[in-house]
Symmetry: C2
Amino acid sequence: MASLTPQPYKGARDFYPEDKRLQNYIFDTWKRVVERYGYEEYGAPLLEPYEIYAAKTGQEIVNEQTYTFTDRGGRNVVIRPEMTPSISRMVAGQRQELSYPARLYSIANFLRYERPQKGREREFWQLNADIFGVEGVEADAEIITLASEIMKAFGAKDSMYKIRINSRKLINVMMADYLELDVMQAQLMIKLFDRKDKISHEEFRDQAAEVFDEDQAKKGLQKIAHLLSAKTMGELPESLLGTDAVKEVRDLFTLLREQGITNAVFDISLMRGFDYYTGIVFEVFDTHPDNNRAMFGGGRYDGLVGLFGVEPIATVGFAPGQTMTEEFLKSHDLIPKLRSTTDIWMIVLHPDALPGAQKLATALRKEKVTVAVDISGRKLDKQMKAAIKSGVPYMLFVGENELRDEVYSLKEIATEKEQKLSFERVVTTVIDHRHKRRSTL
Amino acid sequence: MASLTPQPYKGARDFYPEDKRLQNYIFDTWKRVVERYGYEEYGAPLLEPYEIYAAKTGQEIVNEQTYTFTDRGGRNVVIRPEMTPSISRMVAGQRQELSYPARLYSIANFLRYERPQKGREREFWQLNADIFGVEGVEADAEIITLASEIMKAFGAKDSMYKIRINSRKLINVMMADYLELDVMQAQLMIKLFDRKDKISHEEFRDQAAEVFDEDQAKKGLQKIAHLLSAKTMGELPESLLGTDAVKEVRDLFTLLREQGITNAVFDISLMRGFDYYTGIVFEVFDTHPDNNRAMFGGGRYDGLVGLFGVEPIATVGFAPGQTMTEEFLKSHDLIPKLRSTTDIWMIVLHPDALPGAQKLATALRKEKVTVAVDISGRKLDKQMKAAIKSGVPYMLFVGENELRDEVYSLKEIATEKEQKLSFERVVTTVIDHRHKRRSTL
């Protein structure tokens, strides 16, 4: 038989312990921040019925990017490409049992069939945090604050990222009343705005012209130019300024200022790809010249829970991804030194000492020290080489003399410092070292 | 449009926060135990090429139970039904870079198309812990010790579970030399032994007779009866007793006794379903009369890494599942009281107090207190009802007077005890309570 390849599936990643440490650092940071704000963790199934995405997710994702198949029972299912439909379904399922505002989060993997590239994989991990049951813009402010707090928890300075904010309500008014587009035209225009940064200025203009009725195109393009030149809300066309949508965005900026957020900006061109948004939308944007792009976003989607046969519930949420976060941390040199979860690699000096070494390891573990015993029976130098290669901070040398005298040689691998220590001192030395490393994060 | 159903996909579970807390308790317990033994976490892709299961996983699983489909690029892929092939592939991919003994673990979800029933779901979560690079039975002893330590970490007494142990090497000798079966017959007999507890004694006997050549059946059945009557290794037929396989099992029991394990038993009828096992196999068995069944197992599979084009590596591993663990904990009344990760539901007495309440919440969060602010703008009684329903331990009442005086009313929901406290006392009261709850676990 030809041998199998050790390569992972295209667009998926193997997380060896070093990669997994970084992933865990990201997950733990997310967890810590959202739990501080009272968000509780949930879990959702990997597979969902096809219909729940067909309903409201963007067309491109459902038709071209989902992993859709028929199960052995003839059900048409999808490996979740995002969490929003699943959590909406779950909230609908316990609409009466939940307590509002309901704050929920999950950290989970998703699949989309896209061309793998920097910062984008077919299998990817996201935090999803959503607040249910608040109609007021206070909920939008909280979600945007959370997004910002997460960035800060990773060590980001305000200058390293920007929060772009817009409103679907304002977009709707702008499309219908200001640009005078019908529903179909508006939808095309929204998709075009969504692609704006990926195409040239000329392409954008030509494609925009095609959306308008022929006799409206010239005037329409002028209006779009006016819109895009507005750097603040105040520069928007007069007819938009008096709307409720604008008032809501203004209220939101006031709340964000109260939360100390100074790097949020209004951006009329921000659309967000998903069809389900109904109010405020936002995107967190990396300002680093090498990684100048949208990292993640979110917004309000008040209609989704209601698709599952219950009264709708006001909802705001967002979803940062692990890969984009990693790219951000790399660009800004914010990845901390992460060490192995194992404190000690125990070197067994002679096979006869193994039973005693195992007892010692058990005693250390009772004191919360993490110990890998070298049970290979190899010679001393081979055991030491393995310990050094493994990346653990300490080696502990244990032979029959050490067990008899109850004094052990502890060697810190990074400094090559070796000390003869009692059991108690081994414990305190190792635990202190672990805490010191943690507090420097 | 007809509304969508809020039901999850058949055989998959929605984990609402309460369910997720229990899942996290199980995951955290697994993590703590295996990390104490020096196991490091990894992550593997959800999808794998079909071929890696066709190679060595049991036929039934691959042909009837996998979620297999063709992706948009024409690749034949499987949603992982187990972790063993994936981690073998990953170890092969970094065979030179890893340090041996390599101890690796993951906690991940899997899918198998089976009939959902108590303790078995189509989507399920497992810990996988494996040790690579140790040929000696010390590795088998460590893995079985880990399995036992995990049970103890959940509060299990020795009498609540039993560890059944057998050896594939011994099974092979028994099939070939003692029962005189050829390779095909042996395979059928192994599958039959595997089903032994699920069928009647008569069915087992009749099907066993059919495996033998006709003229051998009578003698064969007598031999099987002899084998199954052996309650200890010493009662095995003479011809098996002198084999290396038996010596290895004896060495293993000595090591387990040294680790203080007293509830391990030899069981010649234990086979384990997967085709890849090559040495010691074991199963942890619930002894509770209401849940009297195998919970999980593991064993040695020295051949799997070698299928990926590299030199084989000795490997032992095991994989407890979340669902079976839950059933065990329920049967033995071992589920601890798990509380919300949120400490405080902040009741805002008047909308004008919201900005001040938010500032207070931010200050509490800096002290690691987890706070959900009621930003709904509802009346006091509605906010209080929501807080009580949510399951958080404390309500904190914040109005303009409280903010001015810097004294806040903290109410413990379970005891209805209400205290007027300074900021510092709110922090210490809540954090102390959280630690007290944790230490009773």
